[in-house]
Symmetry: D3
Subunit: 283 residues, 6 copies
């Protein structure tokens, strides 16, 4: 269970107050780990993020709120299996239930692919993404559901999505960079993220915020499948989270694995909390 | 390149002597790592086995042979991609080429699933397997190509295979244990392996020998996806390898990952060498 | 949640069948980690044991039972705090509740000290223990609640306990060895455990079985606070578990930490399951 | 022994020159590791700091001094035991001896709690602290000697201390943040540390400088019990050390554990040396 | 093989196009690991750099080039042995062959000592170096071929070299700092590297660029033998690489070991690629 | 300092009783780590052995002795440098001093090469060795002082040595196996060690006992440079130590590195203690 969240399955007072029906936010673990590039282990992402969040204070001074007061419920993990397409559909259903209950889904990856069903369920106008990679491939090794294609899939498959804003991207194939020049894509290189105002760019539209932890420089998040140097600093990522939170109706943090000393998971948990505090404070 | 093997791609004298055409054994790396159970990392198996074999002496006193004299060629890895079925077919082609060149394939996994195409290519009469698990499921999480089904697939899909002998097995589902009572399956629990004579059981038939490293007790091979305590000792495994080698026309060692300090890879490399020395000495 | 167990907090059918009231076994995590000797990390023991048990098959062939059919409920962890005495009292209450519900407590340590409150709650006649250490000190560094004193405390403080049988012990202070010569203590050195019949020694009395994972040789359980070479083999430990299970009304496995590649946790989870299968089969 | 320091126990010339009686600085290891929050291992802090300092050059160009010329003596570790209160008293005595010999104590933690006895012995006017946390709790889990309470304890229990300046703090309970608004506390968030002049704030008063390594961003010091993202950069910490050193009569670096690849210990050792070089140069 | 490079030994089309004779760049692994200071493991540097480069995209947007189009050939490793002097001579021959073929050598260390033979072979006018250390010792522990002496050796032994520019240096012995004041040495401390223009300083002279990965702050490259805090940020290093590349006729990246989670190797591989892209684009 | 030993440098009562002059045993750390084969890290061997011995009880029941009563003094480490020949000479001098003081040297490696100077100083009649390797090469990569040649060097260079008994050896070059057939060499393969009586073979002659930790199966000692499966069990090694101890005038344990979870160091420390207890008890 994410520290400070209520366990969806629990009975008693907690459930009365913030049981699924009244939840403001619902954590959904999505430990998918199948796209075959480099270092595996994103299946342990949800578990590690929850674990390394145990040390964080419940209270947030900036917004003067207690995390445990904000109505966060933890649904637990939607265990993955080998048929990715079926899994994504099932996951979409789970997230859609959250949306129907008027709560904000907080998805813990798992590989980036899990953003696709979450965005399908949330149906935002803009997909905002912190990522080292463009993830704009048509397919990777013939697989259109690879994590390297997720932003492309979202642009193509989710009707409500008008635009993708990719912050911190610093690498891609030629095809991806060309695709990135389309009107519906904005790429902000790491060097320019501090100066860029996402809020301005959103112009009040509904957003979904996806944090691929490899957007951070590997120093801050070595526990990820494909380290890409020259990345974002955590405070730059936090600023983006704060700016987008009030307009976001869905959130995920993905690509955390267990191959470091907890840095990636620690940062991931902190950004999720920052999202929750900022979103709640903006109401 | 496996230490002591020739690189298939190299030119010059080595190729003249043991180029693919004249090879006696061909190492094929098969870093498949997709079945979604527990600890991933078998994609690093071939690399680790080659690395930890670097310290072994070229010479073997028991058989008075040099490994580098035995005509072992390393084909390199057949890189995996997301479409498992297509990958297995491609891998089968690669191994079939080895067989057609009258060499013995030595497959480095990767997950156990890779034994299926290798056995298809080799077409043995008996499938001998060191494994903690029965691997006799019809499907696992709906996937008939999971590593947990490989022995069942081999029994069902490879016409030449009359029988499977599974040594060291100590766990399985009820369905698997029931299937194991079929006439075409022999299960030897770890406690009885030292007493069991595989050679007798083979009665001169052609065999394929598959070493799932988790057959060993976790103390000897912690770097594997699903540790299963109460397992085999390395000398018991070596004895099986020695006994089967003379009658085996194919060999693999699978399920080694990178999540230990090298114990699993070291044992895997040693068993492969033991196979080569014994097979060569029996000619 | 221990794999195959029901979550105590969950509603619905599972609870109907094996809710706390009808449970046969109740898992209680006791992540105490304060005695200041060498390698810390037993606080992660319960988590790791549950994690590494995920790969085990639900079905047990020997006893022809499914773990998930045996009425095991997981109470979750009783989180530790700095006042050890108060914590142990609280833990005793938790375990006593289990006993009153006529279920067998299965405690996951945490340091060995947690056996004391569990034994107090269970009130057995004999304390059977697999351990490298005698744990018979009057106090360690002035602390009578150190894990190095737990067997002494149990002998002195729990009125029902007539005797302690310590299997696999190979080290202790002179004071401990002298105490071990008392009529109420039997020490079986690792070399003799295979020959020793605990069942005979129990003569039908009620027992509590405590598995200090350091009873195993460090090769099989390096992830423990004080490795002690020349230890037991897992099959010897399993044999003891099988023999004692039918007469045991309480069980724990302790001293597992997170400083290895999962070997200690894997063995611990397996021995717990062996206990459950054997105890259930004997009814 | 800290590299470049003399061993207090050694005889001969070194002792003649910088034996305890003439030492300018005395290193005291305080491997306390009992407060039960998250990742343990601070007991290995002193050992790791000494080890990772072995690679540093003896000479410092900025101050044109040799570390080994500055009269640093290493007292070794004051081994911890279970009675924290008694331990802290003993430690206080050890540090008081250093002070009476007119040397500056350099304490190597161990958990932050060890600053309390050190400050008691040094009796400064101001407690300057680099820390991610406020450590201003009245008690944590009922324990007033938890590392999470150390700054509060120092403010309350040490008469000479007029004020605490906490640099880099970014989290705390509501109670702590409220306490931090007292006249005797100054909190400088990480973002403002570069601009803040501690020297100005000290106005010539005697200070004790405590470096909780978790003040650094986790990228620079992952080996600590409670990682807190969005932290200080090492150069910002160095600047504080340089500014405070001339007015400081006591120093510690705490909360380093063994759960990273040496980054935390390396930074800790460097900051200790920076303190010594700056303090010595200011005389 | 470095990802995107051709294997020198391979036959067929690749060799036709970019075989050794037509290569623009040649990767040479130099896994020397003998200087006896602190953490060993640079022998695994070439292997790790190649491995962690596997995830990088072939295409570079900034220069609009494909790495695999740039004529990079991988010679493999020049395996080290105990006679360092002889090894360096042999390595020099290997690099000289590259130079004679009019290709740019890209040496993968191994300890920094390997720059000496590479510079001897390349015969540049200026030795540009990113390093935490001055490496200007006459000898270290009596060994003039220690990695701590390599820049001194290059200045003294290679006739063509007029000057050494050391960027990011922050430590050295007094002797080294004094030597650094010679007219032929420029030291740029980490704090000033961002402002410093290497291109200006080069004035069109031929350069050799050596990247000692410990020039980076340990947060970005913990996997190196002697971590030295307060170092460079990767973007600062990248800027230097970009500036020098067009004038450099030789390149190396050294001192990467296997004692981290891949951060050092990942950064090293990225800087090598940046060098190649920039050099090629400048033609 | 080895736990239970006195520090040679300390003053006061301890030194009076067991100062160097009256010592019965002297621990000498010899962290040599230069022979270039595979996994480095033996330089950390002495440190790790001392560290992992901290958990062992001072008292030994079998011999009814306290380790701290037996007059063991720790000389500390003889720090290594690059000139191996000079280092070995210096080390020989250190060990010779021990011998002249009529104490038994206990050398902690470091690589196996350090046995050579120790044996030179001790001048035994028989060199008894537990090792996976024959170490009988004339030279390795041209280096006659490689750890792979140490037993050959001892046979050739130390006049008093009449014979080498190598227990647990299971690999070597053809040249080594041929040399092993000489009258002055006895090789006992791992399978036969349990049956072999070293005491009988010694016939009362003076022996030096060298424990290369890789003699153990990798399960028991993965932290060593060249793992060699199919090795000895710790109890078999202990039996050899007990048998030889009474006749041995020198002892070492070598080839322990820091690349495991402490298993190798733990076993090494235990075997050293077993040697001391047995030797002392036999007087
Ligand atoms: Mn992504
Ligand atoms: Mn990404
Ligand atoms: Mn299998
Ligand atoms: Mn298996
Ligand atoms: Mn115990
Ligand atoms: Mn114990
Ligand atoms: Mn603190
Ligand atoms: Mn803190
Ligand atoms: Mn350097
Ligand atoms: Mn350097
Ligand atoms: Mn040896
Ligand atoms: Mn050896």
């Amino acid at each position: 269970m994410f520290p400070g969240a209520s366990d969806e399955r629990e009975g008693g007072d907690v459930a009365d107050e913030f049981g699924r029906a009244n939840a403001n936010f619902v954590v959904v673990g999505a430990p998918l780990d199948v796209s075959t590039t480099f270092q595996p282990g994103t299946r342990f992402g949800p578990r590690r993020i929850r674990t390394f969040a145990e040390t964080f204070d419940d209270y947030d001074r900036r917004t003067d709120q207690y995390f445990s007061d904000l109505g966060v419920v933890d649904h637990g993990d939607v265990r993955a299996w080998d048929d990715v397409e079926a899994y994504l559909e099932w996951l979409e259903g789970t997230v859609r239930d959250v949306v129907w209950d008027e709560a904000v889904p907080l998805v813990l990856g798992g590989e980036h692919t899990v953003s696709l069903p979450a965005v399908r369920a949330v149906e935002p106008e803009v997909f905002v993404c912190l990522d080292a990679h463009l993830d704009l491939r048509e397919a990777y090794d013939g697989n259109p559901l690879s994590h390297a294609c997720v932003t492309r899939r979202i642009l193509e498959d989710v009707d409500t999505v008008e635009e993708a804003i990719i912050l911190g991207a610093r690498t891609g194939s030629e095809e991806e960079w060309d695709r990135a020049e389309g009107d519906d894509v904005t790429v902000v290189p790491p060097e320019d993220v501090a100066e860029f105002s996402v809020a301005d760019r959103l112009e009040g539209r509904d957003a979904y915020l996806s944090v691929d932890i490899d957007g951070a420089d590997p120093a801050y998040a070595p526990g990820t499948g494909t380290m890409e140097p020259f990345g974002l600093e955590p405070r730059e990522m936090r600023e983006v989270v704060r700016e987008v939170a009030s307009q976001a109706t869905g959130f995920d943090v993905v690509e955390v694995n267990d191959r470091d000393d907890g840095q990636a998971a620690s940062l991931a948990g902190k950004l999720l909390r920052e999202f929750v505090f900022s979103h709640a404070a903006s109401r």
